[in-house]
């Protein structure tokens, strides 16, 4: 079995499948820059199922209000206790949006309150170096959504270990394109996705 399989969380509420090409893009980055044994396609895993524990890094995104079921909350809590890492990205890029408000509530209810992740965290040096913290997205720079450039990601930690990472930067939009189209970019904008996976695999 491959060392790494990219998994997208499927939750009962909302549009969990709003960024279907993110998986392909990150897998492409891992294959391009590392020798990780990575599965060629991603999987979708229900947040409330035991299959969640097969994938210690899970990606979660959406635009719509999030309301976890009790089973999803319990499963997510146990998943984080055992060593799993959930990455949540606001596909709206809007701190006043429904996804942002409800996702924060649900994460706090299931795991704990979110706090800013410092820009000097090892996440930003796990593979590529991002001196200023999380890289900006075109949605931030173009003033879409909440018209803010978010300086930090947020996280929940158990001890020293990050168990939930939260992004308001809308990487779901930034990275949801076919990997072949990277050839039209002067700089690969999905490099931070490689950092995210390497960080999860080593921390």
């Amino acid at each position: 079995m491959p060392d790494f399989v990219f998994a997208t969380a499927q939750y009962d509420s909302g549009d969990w499948d709003s960024a279907p090409l993110v998986a392909a893009n990150i897998i492409d980055g891992l294959a391009r820059y590392t020798t990780l044994d990575v599965a060629p396609t991603g999987v979708v895993v229900p947040l409330g199922s035991k299959d969640l524990f097969k994938y210690p890094l899970v990606w979660l995104t959406g635009h719509l209000p999030v309301r976890f079921t009790e089973v999803e909350r319990t499963t997510l809590r146990e998943y984080c206790k055992r060593g799993g890492l959930l990455f949540v990205d606001d596909h709206n890029h809007d701190v006043d949006g429904e996804f942002h408000r409800t996702a924060w509530e649900e994460i706090e209810r299931a795991v704990g309150p979110l706090k800013d992740l410092p820009s000097d965290d090892p996440l930003y040096r796990a593979f590529f170096t991002f001196e200023d913290g999380p890289p900006t997205t075109s949605h931030e720079l173009n003033g879409w959504g909440d018209n803010l450039v978010h300086k930090h990601l947020q996280c929940v930690k158990f001890g020293e270990r990050v168990v939930v990472l939260y992004s308001s930067k809308d990487y779901s939009s930034e990275w949801s394109y076919h990997p072949d189209n990277k050839r039209f970019l002067s700089v690969d904008n999905s490099k931070f996705g490689v950092n995210l996976v390497v960080y999860a695999l080593t921390r």
């Binding site: 060392d3 590392t34 035991k50």
Partner: protein
């Protein structure tokens, strides 16, 4: 005509002579008593056991020539303690008893054991560990864990490396790591990423693709006394084949559902180990197939574990699997950690710790690990009944001295009365 004083002289001589004869007789009787070896007899009725101090006192009497015996009921219960070679500070207590036994320390009951042999691994024992069976208490001091060296994990970036490091760190090991991410990039953790017996107790290898330089440094490390754990896909790296005790004779995938059935090790992919060398020691089997094998190589030890993707145990197992996965890895590394270095570090650590805070590491003079065996060793086997008490025979009749004294005093008084010196 003889005077009155002259008439008393023969009587005085006679009294003196008789007194001296009686004293001489007493001396002869005493000499004979010593020659016959007359001894005191001591019998002790024991209920449950004797304290080590009392037992040693009686043994001293017996060694001095007294006849010491005992009778009564002392249960056969034995306790021993060994330090767990892991950073947890735990002690493994082994208890054997012929009836139900209560296990505890100075704070109270810890656990219980039915008749037979049992093992209790625990930490934080206060005072002495005691095993009480039918009123007899075997006691032993806890042995605290040593100051072990660090662990170096060599692998490739992946879940197995991540969760192996996590398990070892959670168990208290200090972990250095060198994880291969690409042909040119290695992720490093800790302060020393080359095997070094001065710093590392053991090396864990999780990557089957070892370079020649790394393999050579590991081989040198093992021959110098370091421990080596080879696991999963790296259970027999080609570059380290000369160090290993077994070859992989088959690869089995994990059994679906085994986690839910309480057989987590059956749920893991498995490299069956066979073709063992003559010095191989099988530590664990799965379905009668060798799963964990060890051997000595020069001053070091090499452990091969056939279980792969053990991280699934931690993530997918039932309740308690995080702790079980942690214990699995800590035990593997503790088994490989060098014994001699362990002893040396233990002594150094004990001397340091005893000076500071930990009275539990100081062996107690009153420890009594095997009360019945010690009693039999000191005083011989129990007698069925107390021996009938024979009247004590004094070698010297009490009147003998009194009469001798009376005669000599009378003779002296008579002489003084007539003015003789």
């Amino acid at each position: 005509m003889p005077s009155r004083a002259e008439r008393r002289q023969p009587w005085e001589r006679a009294a003196r002579g008789l007194g001296l004869v009686l004293l001489l007789g007493a001396l002869v009787l005493a000499w004979r008593a010593v020659g016959r070896g007359d001894t005191r007899r001591v019998h002790v009725a024991v209920d449950g056991g004797l304290s080590p101090v009392m037992r040693d006192s009686l043994a001293a009497l017996a060694a001095a020539g007294d006849s010491v015996s005992w009778s009564g009921s002392v249960a056969a219960v034995i306790a021993s303690a060994e330090a767990v070679r892991e950073p947890s500070g735990a002690t493994r207590f082994n208890v054997v008893a012929d009836s139900a036994t209560a296990l505890g320390d100075s704070l109270g009951l810890i656990d219980s054991l039915s008749a037979g042999a049992g093992t209790l691994t625990t930490e934080g024992v206060r005072g002495q560990f005691a095993a009480n069976s039918s009123g007899t208490t075997a006691s032993v001091a806890a042995r605290t864990a040593p100051a072990l060296g660090r662990v170096l994990v060599i692998g490739r970036v992946g879940w197995e490396s991540k969760f192996t490091i996590a398990a070892l760190e959670e168990a208290g090991w200090l972990v250095d790591a060198r994880l291969r991410l690409s042909d040119t990039i290695t992720v490093e953790q800790g302060r020393s990423t080359a095997p070094n017996v001065g710093a590392h107790a053991a090396v864990v290898v999780l990557d089957s693709l070892l370079g020649a330089e790394t393999a050579n440094s590991i081989a040198r490390f093992v021959r110098a006394g370091g421990g080596l754990v080879l696991s999963g896909d790296a259970v027999r790296p080609r570059a380290l084949a000369a160090l290993t005790a077994a070859r992989v004779t088959g690869v089995e995938s994990g059994e679906p559902g085994a986690f839910q059935e309480g057989e987590p090790l059956h749920a893991l992919p498995f490299h069956a180990l066979g073709a063992l060398t003559s010095d191989a020691v099988v530590l664990e089997t799965r379905d009668d197939v060798s799963a964990v094998v060890a051997r000595r190589v020069a001053a070091g030890r090499v452990i091969q574990s056939g279980y792969a993707e053990t991280w699934r145990w931690r993530m997918q197992g039932e309740a308690g699997s995080v702790e079980a996965h942690r214990a699995h890895w800590s035990r593997l590394v503790g088994t490989a950690a060098p014994a001699e270095a362990f002893v040396a570090r233990t002594q150094a650590a004990a001397s340091r710790e005893s000076a500071v805070t930990s009275p539990a590491v100081i062996p107690s003079a009153t420890a009594d690990p095997a009360p019945l065996a010690s009693l039999v060793d000191a005083l011989g086997p129990a007698q069925a009944d107390a021996p009938a008490s024979a009247p004590a025979r004094d070698p010297l009749p009490p009147w003998l001295g009194a009469i001798a004294l009376l005669l000599l005093v009378a003779e002296w008084a008579s002489r003084r009365a007539r003015g003789a010196s």
